[in-house]
């Protein structure tokens, strides 16, 4: 392993073991990166490198600006870590190869390999990304601003959770000029020790945990240093980091940039006695070009959704040109269960990765390799694996030939293996998801959430959760809002390409009381939250914005959505029933006087007799109607009525207090009117009382709570 100089024979030899089948091995590494998560706060050093052009016949000398080889460092410190090689690095190689061959074919003036070599130089990964920043999510100004904040927030959340701290984050964006903003993200995490700050913020691909089978916030992969780089490229200004790693020490302040040619940090200013929040924590400030927008792809939406999926975090947010802070309060004081790393499941591997594992294993025998490096493999299963390939269980895994390995891989796929352990997953949980939704989506009248049991696709455990908010202030005649999450990270882009969207559409919403145009999301006052937690969330592309359409995943999402849909359907039916009951109640009030009036006209009765008829009939009908009601609704109505009576009594007594000379009398219509027009304290109290009583009895619609009981008008 290590930095490979262009065509350096020495380097190749040193790594002969792991790099021998050089082409497949490179792919494997790319694969590993694709699965991995970057965490800048780990100690591992990842050296950038570019691969040798395989067609180049002779090895040129390394250019003088070659970064120091870190082979030794990597080897000693990170024997168990898998080397990180950016797949982008390989792209560079491939492109160069093309250029060279095109020149030959075109018959252009020939240059010697030496001449060519003089022009060739290693490109720092930073330089590459500086030129291809769209690959990291820094393309449009609006998306760049969002990506920078996203990287910082995800890092903060990860750091807090790993240190067992309940995250408290503040995010602020200030406009500093035309399309220029200064973002500030501060957390109460463990902080960063002084020596590490420059590496974490001023060096790309600094992190660890690549390829571990562990649920985590998989992000764009490169992280906060890319945001620092973007800031300095677009404004020329350094990023400012303040951090305190120990509550008893001073905070460190540091301004830094990233040298794109060498991928190394440059420190511009450093101070040790700065004002900072008490306790540990980190603040990142970056000034950058960008564009602040509202809407579905906005920072506001991202933070709101992050709050929903992370109910254990408290997030404060100050948007540009706003003085006020928006705060999503913590809904739970329990940190999510720490995800456990698991070994790969035999059915969850591509052939390439399997070959890589054969090469890299430390176990001397195939038997040990199968038993120790995979989950759910026992002696019997290992035996079944090798029968067809005629391999011996005592064979040295590193000496197995390619074709034998392929046969082994195929037979492994055919042997039945128990599903992988699912304790590696850390879902949000239905209760917390619902609470997160309640705080993140205000003003709905109905919230529910469910968590499906874990399931498996291609040997990878995953778990689906769905939350749903309905009614209230949500817009009723638009398609529902769909919030997608992968490992607690909101997915804001590519909604229509996402497997989640497809599953939601196939759920059949008409059965649950919503209208749904053919092949589209349901229409109604609904916010739908879908979270998929997995050791490896399959994205459709490296931009990690949409979930791939695996049938097992689509099915689980659909089932989860339908579970929620059934609860919603029951609620909507209840609502309808309730509104028809209300209508009936109003019917009684509306038409009974006319019956009394007609009888009075025909029989020539007096008013008292007429009123008696009306009142008796009202009681009879009201009783009859109640008898038809289900017990829960009856109780709710009775509670409501009691609350109203209480309210009237309160109003009366207040009237008495306010006007002592007046004798206590039943409330006149005038009094009732005045109180209705000007809600008094007592009313608020009584209303809240009524609310409480009603809620205790599972009374649903809000508007009905304020309805006066029919008795009141008499």
């Amino acid at each position: 392993m290590g930095t490979t100089k262009r065509g350096s024979a020495k380097g190749e030899k040193a790594e002969a073991k792991s790099e021998r089948p050089s082409v497949p091995s490179q792919r494997l590494e790319a694969n590993v990166v694709a699965r991995g998560q970057v965490n800048e706060r780990q100690k591992a050093v990842k050296a950038p490198r570019a691969k040798a052009n395989p067609t180049s016949p002779k090895a040129p000398k390394p250019p003088p600006e070659e970064p120091l080889p870190v082979d030794a460092l990597v080897k000693s410190e990170l024997s168990q870590e898998i080397e990180s090689v950016s797949r982008f690095g390989q792209k560079i190689t491939a492109e160069r190869g093309k250029v060279a061959s095109r020149e030959e074919v075109a018959g252009a003036p020939k240059k010697s390999a030496q001449e060519l070599a003089q022009k060739q130089r290693e490109i720092s990964v930073a330089e590459f990304f500086a030129k291809n920043r769209h690959l990291l999510g820094f393309d449009s100004p609006a998306k760049s601003l969002l990506t920078a904040i996203k990287e910082a927030v995800d890092n903060s959340l990860d750091a807090c959770e790993e240190s067992g701290i309940l995250p408290t984050l503040s995010v602020s964006i200030k406009e500093t000029g035309d399309d220029r903003y200064r973002i500030m993200i501060e957390d109460n995490g463990p902080g960063i020790i002084k020596q590490q700050i420059p590496k974490i913020f001023g060096k790309l691909l600094y992190g660890s945990k690549f390829g571990s089978m562990r649920q985590g916030r998989g992000q764009q992969g490169i992280g906060i240093s890319a945001a620092v780089m973007y800031g300095q490229i677009t404004t020329g200004k350094p990023a400012a980091i303040t951090s305190r790693a120990s509550a008893t020490e001073n905070a460190t302040y540091c301004e830094l940039t990233l040298d794109t040619r060498t991928n190394k940090p440059e420190i511009h200013k450093e101070r040790n006695n700065v004002e900072f929040r008490p306790g540990t924590g980190t603040r990142v400030e970056i000034e950058m070009a960008g564009l602040y927008k509202k809407g579905r792809h906005s920072i506001d939406a991202y933070l709101q959704q992050t709050a929903i999926a992370n109910p254990h975090a408290e997030i404060s947010y100050q948007a540009p040109r706003e003085d006020d802070w928006l705060i999503w309060k913590r809904q739970s004081k329990v940190l999510p269960k720490e995800p456990i790393a698991i070994k790969p499941h035999p059915h969850g591997l591509e052939l390439g990765l399997f070959l890589q594992m054969l090469r890299d294993t430390n176990h001397p025998t195939l038997s040990q390799f199968l038993l120790e490096d995979f989950s759910r493999v026992n002696d019997r299963i290992a035996n079944e694996f090798v029968v067809a390939s005629k391999l011996s269980l005592s064979a040295n895994p590193q000496k197995i030939q390619l074709h034998q390995a392929e046969i082994l891989y195929k037979s492994i796929q055919e042997v039945k293996v128990p599903p992988p352990p699912t304790n590696c997953l850390s879902p949000i949980g239905d209760d917390l998801l619902r609470r997160g939704l309640e705080s993140g989506v205000e003003g709905a009248e109905f919230y529910t959430a469910i968590t499906r049991p874990p399931a498996v696709y291609r040997g990878n455990p995953f778990q689906v959760e769905v939350g749903l908010a309905f009614g209230g202030k949500l817009p009723a005649d638009e398609p529902c809002d769909l919030y997608r999450f992968a490992n607690r990270v909101p997915l804001l882009y590519q909604q229509s390409a996402c497997g989640i969207t497809k599953s939601v559409i196939t759920a059949g919403w008409k059965a649950y009381g919503l209208s749904q145009p053919r092949g589209a999301l349901p229409v109604g006052p609904v916010v739908l939250v879908i979270h998929i937690a997995s050791v490896w969330v399959p994205f459709t592309s490296e931009s990690k914005e949409a979930i791939a359409h695996y049938p097992e995943i689509l099915r689980e999402i659909r089932l989860a959505v339908q579970d929620c849909g059934r609860l919603l359907g029951a609620h909507i039916r209840k609502l309808k029933r309730y509104s028809s009951e209300n209508k009936k109640r109003s019917y009684i009030d509306k038409y009974i006087p006319h019956i009394g009036e007609a009888i009075r006209e025909i029989l020539g009765l007096g008013t008292p007799e007429k009123n008696k008829i009306i009142e008796t009939l009202r009681d009879t009908l009201e009783r009859g109607r109640r008898e038809m009601l289900p017990a829960s609704m009856r109780k709710a109505e009775e509670a409501e009525e009691k609350a109203t009576e209480l309210r009237i009594a309160l109003e009366q007594s207040l009237e008495v207090i306010a006007a002592p000379p007046e004798p206590p009398s039943p409330p006149t219509p005038k009094v009732a009117e005045a109180v209705n027009a000007k809600p008094s304290k007592s009313e608020a109290a009584a209303t809240s009382l009524a609310k409480k009583a009603a809620e205790a009895l599972v009374l649903v619609p809000v508007e009905s709570k304020a309805k006066p009981s029919p008795r009141r008008r008499v």
Partner: protein, 362 residues
């Protein structure tokens, strides 16, 4: 029933309802069911008779609006009787606009409640003070109607031969009219267009008859007018309608035996002696008439008549005739006779038909 009796009946009902209410019970009103399922055809009397099916309207949350409206309608009827006044159906509908929430939104609603009240007491709605606002039909030919002057109450003789190209209009109430005629028969015509043609050519003079235009399904007063005239003067009545399920099963059937909706009154508002001159389904083929295909609603109406109409079910010849229409899938209008020449109907069709009244459909 006299006005006084009706008034007493209304008061009795209101008193019963009041008593039930004060006892804490749900009062109920029982009405005869007014549809074809509750009538039978009596060939002896010749009209639809009401059977003993009833609908009961108990006062509950769901019926409270209609219940209030029914009682209000009764109160209005009582008022009309007391004041010896009348209100048209439309008037009654507008009266209800004073009933606040209990008002009728559309006139058909108020008409239905009025029909309920009428059936409830088993009286003619005119006796309740409600008069129809439809006109009764046009008359021309050998007839003198004896009416009276509204102010002087002196008899008025109206000669129906003296309307030239116009016609005498049947009033909404016909009980007080007298007749004088020597006509051989009454020809009752469905469409105004055909009536105009026959009037224009003084068809009645040549055939010594009375021409009456119904303009669709005949109104109650039109039916009553024809009935009284035919009964008193003992002259036969022939119907001349379009040849389609509507002309047969609605217009002709209602004229002859009454309607399901007003079954409690059919005894007076039908013309059992009428027979069907044409256009018969057989005529379509005998006279080679141009046709239109039966529409879906026509087919449904025809099948419904075969299945549910006690009158059609009683007469095999009508069943065969309707089945013939269904089989061929065609219908023909009265005016299709004009295909053979504008006056073909006067010169050929009617004379040929009238030569053999025994062949008319029952």
């Amino acid at each position: 029933m006299s006005g006084k009796q009706i008034k007493q009946a209304i008061e009795k009902v209101a008193a019963q309802v009041k008593e039930k209410i004060l006892k804490g019970a749900n009062p109920e009103l029982t009405f005869p069911l007014r549809n074809l399922a509750n009538v039978s055809y009596n060939p002896k009397t010749g009209y639809f008779e009401l059977q003993d099916k009833f609908k009961s309207r108990t006062l509950t949350v769901n019926t409270v609006k209609t219940f209030a409206q029914t009682l209000k309608m009764m109160a209005l009827a009582k008022e009309l009787i007391e004041k010896n006044d009348i209100a048209t159906k439309r008037d009654a509908y507008y009266q209800s606009k004073n009933w606040a929430d209990a008002r009728f939104d559309e006139q058909p609603e108020s008409d239905a409640v009025m029909d309920d009240v009428e059936a409830f007491f088993g009286v003619n709605r005119e006796q309740l003070g409600f008069i129809p606002d439809e006109k009764g039909g046009d008359v021309a030919g050998e007839l003198i109607v004896i009416d009276r002057d509204n102010d002087t109450k002196k008899p008025l003789r109206i000669d129906c031969t003296k309307f030239g190209s116009g016609a005498y209009s049947v009033p909404s109430s016909v009980e007080h009219l007298g007749f004088q005629t020597k006509a051989q028969f009454i020809l009752v015509i469905e469409t105004a267009g055909m009536f105009q043609r026959l009037v224009k050519h003084n068809f009645w003079r040549k055939h010594n008859c009375i021409l009456i235009s119904m303009g669709g399904v005949p109104t109650r007063s039109c039916r009553r007018f024809i009935r009284r005239l035919a009964d008193e003067k003992k002259i036969p009545v022939y119907a001349f309608t379009d040849c389609d399920p509507y002309g047969i099963a609605n217009i002709y059937r209602t004229l002859k035996v009454g309607s399901g909706n007003a079954a409690h009154l059919n005894e007076y508002f039908c013309v059992p002696q009428v027979s069907f001159l044409g256009v018969t389904p057989q005529d379509i083929f005998d006279y080679k008439l141009p046709t239109h295909p039966l529409k879906k609603v026509d087919e449904e109406r025809a099948r419904d008549a075969l299945k549910n109409d006690p009158f059609i079910q009683h007469h095999k010849r009508w069943q065969d005739a309707i089945k013939l229409l269904l089989d061929k899938g065609v219908r023909a209008e009265q005016q299709s006779l004009a295909a053979h020449g504008l006056n073909y109907v006067i010169d050929e069709y009617l004379p040929r038909k009238l030569a053999n009244p025994k062949a008319f459909l029952p």
